[in-house]
């Protein structure tokens, strides 16, 4: 019976998320973002690269819904174009963090020993630096650029993820069904895949969702200070940098990309919170 | 030597005058009447000056809720929907917050079940006792602390001056409960409400705490409402008994009446659940079945599904609270109608 409830957990989580209005909207927003990232050029009202220098800083109009920027480019189209980076950049960071943190965390949680001790110390050390300072140091080694910046952010995320995975694994590993599986000779790999991973999926998913939002903020920060996206590519963060330099000419220009970013982070956070609540709810009953 | 039930309580004669505390038709429910009928329904009893009244029943019968409701300390999720709680002539349910605040910790003290979690972990025990005097008498901290030291001594804590500066976690459970009691009596109350004051403690400590409460009762002429599920404690300590079952009062009687002439099948089942040989403190779980949870109360007699004496045709109907004599009431229609005569505890 316990196995059955455990198996059905992902479905339940999804149904809880979709049933809540706030998180349903958030999921819809993220899906829209993914759609724009894939099919952006098809739905974009203008070519985001085409300049119209006679029409700089145009206000809101029916042709330019969100106006134009310092080169007369259509802001709506550029926001849509930048959605691609808004989706991919966090995926790079979270992917890197998972690649490092997940296996180490699983191993440390299940086997303890040297791996646990060394990885734990290293995690403590990295976590003793403010995230952005750490990311800056790594970018200093790798050199500026979007991919490098997001790799750096991923490395900085890894210790936190490691701790979450390790803690959850430790808790699950003490449960009887895992102990008995090990006792009847289940291999470490099988134990991890079949018994532990499905049971730590929920806390992991919460962490990953929230990290997506944090990664987007980190991308924006690094692009804003010139270490992330390099021109001519554009992300919401680098658009904000341009808007910042032109703030005198066009105070409104800080709004569109900023709002796009806040909404996206809000969406990730809302989904993360909902999963947490959904899982917490299950635990209580 | 253990005195028999209801004999030792020196001041225990009901004074003819007004009761000190009079609970009338108390009904407690979730907001919006989510549970019909209520979690606690139509509870009525009196406590006279110097008398000790037990609220007894299994867990989930509403006795703790009833005791909390007296001082308006119910959890946020539940509330009183009907009835009154008259203390010294003032209805505590309708009086101003200011009046209620003056009663709490002043003329009415309260002691809770889990001393560890009921004491503030960030405050020294001295300050927690002194707090009562500061709030009610406006004493300065130093004065109140001095008095707190005397109170600690009074409740049997040695080296009281040193102990004043201790934090709750540095004390044993029995000590903590003594501190709770010291704070409850800090303003010389007339009434002490004790919600299972000994349940969380070791058996030997239980006896000491009861002994302390007995002394205080005598010295301070305290009236007591004692919530318990322990019949031994009832026999030792109380004058009157209110037997609660599933949010109702099943039977209300002086202690002797309960032990020798129980007038409700639930009371008699409780009595037979106690080993005959003595005062063993059981959890009263020996009666078959369980207390129905709120919202799932039977429409008729609430004890009917677990009752040895039930008769379908009769017990399926709601039972009225009936007076058998001046001080003895039952909610069993079969007993009230003379159909059923129950056996009391054999005198040991």
């Amino acid at each position: 019976m316990t196995t059955a409830t455990r198996r059905s957990r992902p479905l339940n989580v999804i149904s809880v998320i979709v049933r809540r209005p706030a998180s349903a909207v958030a999921v819809g927003f993220v899906l829209l973002l993914v759609f724009l990232a894939v099919a952006g050029p098809l739905v974009s009202p203008h070519d985001p690269e085409v300049q119209d220098l006679g029409n700089r800083f145009a206000g809101l109009s029916s042709t330019h819904l969100l106006g134009t920027d310092e080169f007369g480019r259509d802001v709506t189209s550029r926001i849509i174009q930048a959605a691609r980076i808004a989706v991919t950049a966090p995926l790079i960071s979270v992917g890197v963090a998972l690649l490092i943190g997940l296996p180490l965390g699983l191993w440390a949680g299940l086997r303890r020993g040297v791996v646990d001790a060394v990885a734990g110390r290293l995690a403590d050390t990295i976590l003793s630096l403010p995230a952005l300072v750490g990311a800056l140091a790594i970018v200093a080694v790798l050199g500026p650029g979007l991919v490098n910046a997001m790799l750096a952010v991923g490395i900085i995320f890894a210790p936190g993820l490691f701790r979450v995975v390790r803690g959850a694994t430790l808790a699950v590993a003490e449960e009887t069904f895992v102990e008995s599986a090990v006792a009847i000779g289940s291999s470490t790999r099988r134990t991890l895949w079949v018994h532990i991973l499905p049971n730590i999926a929920a806390p992991l998913l919460v962490q990953v969702t929230i990290l997506m939002g944090v990664a987007l903020l980190a991308e924006a920060s690094l692009s804003f200070i010139g270490l992330g996206v390099q021109p001519p590519d554009a992300s919401w963060g680098s658009m904000l940098k341009a808007a910042y330099t032109n703030q005198f000419d066009s105070p409104f220009s800080v709004v569109p990309s900023g709002v796009a970013m806040v909404l996206t982070v809000l969406a990730f956070n809302t989904i993360g919170d909902s999963i947490r609540d959904a899982v917490g709810l299950r635990r209580r009953t | 030597m253990t005195p028999g039930p209801g004999q030792q309580n020196g001041t225990g004669q009901p004074s003819g005058g007004e009761p000190l505390l009079s609970v009338r038709g108390l009904t407690i429910d979730l907001p919006g009447g989510a549970v019909q009928p209520g979690l606690v329904e139509d509870v009525t009893f009196d406590v006279h000056r110097g008398r000790a009244v037990a609220l007894i029943g299994e867990s989930g019968c509403g006795k703790s809720l009833t005791s909390m409701a007296i001082l308006g300390l119910l959890p946020a999720a539940v509330r009183v929907v009907a009835g009154s709680v008259l203390f010294d002539g003032v209805d505590l349910l309708t009086c101003t917050r200011r009046q209620l605040r003056r009663v709490r910790g002043g003329p009415v003290g309260m002691v809770f079940q889990e001393p560890m979690s009921s004491l503030d972990p960030t405050m020294t025990v001295g300050d927690q006792i002194a707090e009562v005097r500061r709030l009610h008498l406006g004493e300065r901290r130093s004065v109140a602390l001095k008095r707190a030291g005397e109170l600690l001594e009074r409740v049997g804590i040695p080296k009281a001056d040193k102990r004043l500066r201790s934090y709750p976690h540095e004390m044993s459970g029995g000590m903590q409960q003594r501190v709770m009691i010291a704070a409850a009596i800090a303003c010389e109350p007339k009434l002490l409400i004790a919600d299972e004051p000994t349940t969380a403690l070791d058996v030997t400590i239980q006896a000491e705490i009861l002994e302390l409460l007995r002394d205080l009762r005598r010295d301070l002429d305290l009236a007591v409402v004692l919530v318990t599920h322990d019949l031994g404690v009832v026999a030792d300590f109380c004058d009157d008994v209110v037997v609660m079952y599933a949010g109702h009062i099943a039977e209300r009687t002086p202690v002797d009446g309960l032990f020798y002439e129980p007038k409700h099948p639930y009371s008699s089942a409780l009595l037979s659940a106690v080993p005959q040989s003595g005062r063993a403190r059981t959890n009263l779980t020996v009666i078959k079945g369980r207390v129905p949870s709120a919202g799932h109360f039977p429409a008729g007699c609430r004890f009917e599904p677990r009752c040895e004496h039930s008769v379908d045709s009769f017990c399926g109907r709601p039972q009225a609270d009936t007076a058998l004599s001046d001080d003895h009431r039952t909610r069993c229609g079969r007993v009230a109608g003379g159909e059923l005569i129950l056996k009391g505890a054999v005198r040991g």
Partner: protein, 315 residues
């Protein structure tokens, strides 16, 4: 805390700092390719590359390099900036005050706004105050501080010229001028942390309210301000202080971007320029300083924690 615990705690902090020093040292070693060539830049002559190699000691064995570098660090010598040739320590010391002041003021903003909003929301659960605080907090957490900074500049410096949009002046030039330069950056930086704190504080207060000891205090006649001050705040403070430590570290990272918005030449802009110029001795100094500050904050938080929580104090 007992002296033994404090010593143990200090030992842990020193160990972390030592490990950070190793990672910091390795920064240069990890540069792909020949570090000296990368640092010197593409147009450097062979002689320049050789000069940098000797100057940074890159021609020696790694362990010896670390030993020399670490000895220097212990003596307060972090080397010289590759761009200005000034000592790293004095360059950092020059930039640090602006950054530290803004971070501290941001922390103040965060604590004052976050804790009071959180307490108000926690005490009035379900009210409009609670809902407003929760909504604003959710929004504040999702808002990048540099965007907030731009919006604030737009509103309070450009649209309404009440406050300066850029720069930092020392407090010695006058309290009013100083404050007018600090308000916007500190607010921009502090509000996100205030949001986190408000959320957390609300949760802690809500939890404390359900505790039996609060009911006991009520049963003693405590209520209103007395109950809040003597019982609720103190107990809620214990978990809040822990989060405060984490957030203080985060502020020190966030200040980098906020400095960029306000054109303040503090540690943040120093760090950004150093990364862009591959000025590794500066970066190393900056990272080490950050670690020291965060470790110090955590130490202070732990001591404060022990002071608030008697269970730790007497353990």
């Amino acid at each position: 805390m007992s002296p033994r615990m404090i010593i143990r705690r200090l030992g842990g902090s020193l160990l972390v700092l030592w490990l950070v020093s190793i990672l910091t040292f390795l920064l240069v070693q990890l540069i792909p390719g020949d570090p000296a060539e990368v640092i010197a830049g593409e147009n450097a002559t062979v002689a320049e590359v050789a000069r940098i190699r000797t100057e940074l000691g890159l021609d020696k064995p790694v362990l010896e390099q670390y030993f020399n570098w670490f000895t220097g660090v212990l003596h307060g010598d972090l080397g010289h900036s590759l761009s200005t040739n000034r000592s790293v320590v004095s360059t950092i010391a020059e930039a640090a005050p602006a950054t530290l002041v803004i971070t501290t003021m941001a922390l103040l903003v965060a604590v004052v706004i976050g804790v009071s909003a959180g307490v108000a929301a926690g005490l009035t659960q379900g009210s409009w105050v609670d809902r407003a605080v929760s909504t604003l907090a959710t929004l504040g957490i999702a808002m990048p501080s540099f965007w907030l900074a731009m919006v604030l500049v737009s509103l309070f410096a450009l649209t309404n010229p009440w406050l300066p949009a850029t720069g930092y002046v020392d407090i010695r030039e006058g309290f009013g001028v100083w404050l007018s330069h600090v308000v916007l950056p500190a607010t921009a930086l502090g509000l996100a942390t205030a949001a986190e704190l408000a959320r957390h504080t609300r949760g802690c207060v809500a939890d404390v309210l359900t505790r039996p000891y609060v009911r006991t205090a009520r049963a003693r006649g405590a209520s209103g301000a007395w109950l809040v001050r003597k019982h609720i705040l103190r107990n809620s403070a214990i978990p809040v202080v822990t989060v405060l430590g984490l957030q203080a570290g985060r502020l020190f990272g966030g200040v980098i971007v906020v400095e960029a918005v306000f054109g303040i030449s503090g540690l943040g802009s120093l760090a950004i320029n150093s990364v862009l110029q591959r000025n590794y001795p500066m970066i190393q100094g900056y990272v080490l300083l950050s670690a020291v500050i965060v470790v110090l904050i955590n130490l202070i938080v732990d001591l404060a924690y022990g002071w608030i929580n008697p269970k730790v104090r007497t353990a």
